[in-house]
């Protein structure tokens, strides 16, 4: 009986801990303003655009978001906010305009790249590259 109690208690503890971590890991909602989210991408996603986006990704983004957008970059562990896994549908279902807005605006650990990447075309190239992470 005592063993059963310990077993049930352990399982419950693990469940509670898992739930607790699940809550912590959930990214804070970050909706883009409607007008930004609806802005269409003016840059066609072709090899040239994706190559330009990849170069920007490697330079500015990969250290936190990881080479393949998994959120496992070398600096990720030092951040207060866990970078989102960009391969997941929960990320990829948002519009191009929404991703563009977030790159420009930044939030918390994610800096604004408005000054580092001032050309709109470059940011759209980056959006096109981020789309290649989709599984």
């Amino acid at each position: 009986m005592k063993r059963k109690l310990i077993l049930v208690g352990s399982v419950l503890s693990v469940c509670i801990m898992s739930f607790a971590f699940t809550i912590i890991q959930q990214p804070k909602p970050w909706p883009a303003p409607e007008k930004d989210a609806k802005t269409p991408n003016p840059v066609k996603s072709n090899a040239e655009s994706i190559s330009a986006g990849k170069a920007l990704w490697s330079l500015h983004c990969a250290s936190c978001h990881g080479k393949k957008g998994l959120g496992d970059g070398s600096k990720a562990a030092q951040l207060k906010t866990t970078p989102q896994d960009m391969t997941l549908a929960s990320f990829q279902t948002q519009s191009d305009g929404s991703i563009y807005y977030k790159i420009n605006a930044g939030r918390d650990d994610m800096p604004s790249f408005k000054k580092k990447i001032p050309d709109a075309e470059d940011v759209w190239n980056l959006v096109n590259y981020v789309r290649t992470f989709k599984k």
């Binding site: 007008k35 802005t39 840059v43 330009a52 990849k54 170069a55 330079l59 000054k115 580092k116 075309e121």
Partner: protein
């Protein structure tokens, strides 16, 4: 993206609010980006001028030549030349800077201007940038160092940099330069007359290249050839090569080469390290960038 535009009608003018789904209009002319990774390629300036609002802090070292082997750990523990540099890009395509080096306590003010930029459509096949500085020796006068006027302390460097990004991996540049020292050391001949060692003006030409070997890492190389012939002590050319690593806020280069000075006019005039004799030295350039 609510924009207001005026629509001309035959009957009347009406103002309408643009739909929020209007596709953003991008500039028609698009320039080639990242011909080089930073302001420096070893001892030379690159064609690049940072984007507006960039503040850059540079730390540069040139160690001693490797000739002494383990006695000074291939020059690493020999006397080093160091430079601290600060630059800012207040407007598009124009950078201003200030440097200070421990070599003869020299300081300079410099200016870099991107005159033309290579375009993606090929209408402009190269990028062209001007770089110039005014440098002063700030050491106190002594028995060995006598400057009569303040103007004697000054030297100037002017360079036109022409570069092309050939592929995503390969960029090359060629940069002719003109240097001038107001006052240079001479000697007294047998008759007791002062004779020059150097011409006060020097023309040189440099060729530099970068080859990207991975995202964030590149092989870099320079060759610098002084052209002006002096009465004595002609400067030797410089051959240098190394690797460059870049992140969002840093640019780091480590290399070996023959130039030991960190002011370009000093190298053009006074380099006595000869690559044919193996007189190479280790150096590094670190740049930290902020965007305001």
């Amino acid at each position: 993206m609510a924009q207001k535009k005026t629509v001309k009608d035959t009957a009347k003018k009406t103002t309408v609010t643009a739909d929020t789904t209007t596709t953003p209009v991008l500039p028609k002319k698009s320039y080639i980006k990242n011909t080089f990774d930073g302001n420096y390629i070893i001892d030379n300036q690159t064609v690049m001028v940072p984007i507006k609002g960039t503040f850059e802090f540079d730390i540069q070292h040139r160690f001693g030549t490797v000739d002494n082997g383990l006695r000074d750990l291939f020059g690493i523990f020999a006397n080093a030349t160091m430079k601290l540099g600060f630059s800012y890009t207040p407007i598009n395509n124009l950078q201003v800077g200030f440097d200070a080096t421990n070599e003869k306590m020299e300081v300079d003010f410099n200016l870099k201007w991107a005159i033309l930029k290579q375009t993606k459509d090929g209408s402009m096949p190269v990028s062209i940038t001007y770089f110039g500085n005014a440098m002063a020796n700030t050491q106190a006068n002594s028995v060995a160092l006598i400057y009569v006027t303040t103007g004697d302390r000054f030297a100037y460097f002017n360079q036109i940099i022409i570069a092309r990004k050939f592929t995503d991996k390969l960029s090359l540049q060629i940069s002719p330069s003109y240097s001038h020292f107001n006052d240079l050391q001479g000697y007294l001949n047998a008759a007791g007359n002062p004779m020059p060692i150097f011409n006060n003006d020097n023309f040189s030409i440099s060729a530099s290249g970068k080859y990207q070997i991975s995202e964030g890492m590149a092989l870099i190389a320079n060759y610098d050839q002084p052209l002006t012939q002096n009465p004595a002590d002609n400067p030797h050319p410089n051959l240098s090569f190394g690797i460059e690593m870049r992140t969002s806020g840093h640019d780091f280069e480590i290399f070996i080469g023959n130039y030991s000075s960190l002011m370009p006019e000093n190298n053009a005039f006074f380099n006595q390290n000869n690559y044919r004799k193996g007189q190479f030295l280790v150096g590094f350039d670190i740049a930290r960038l902020w965007n305001f």
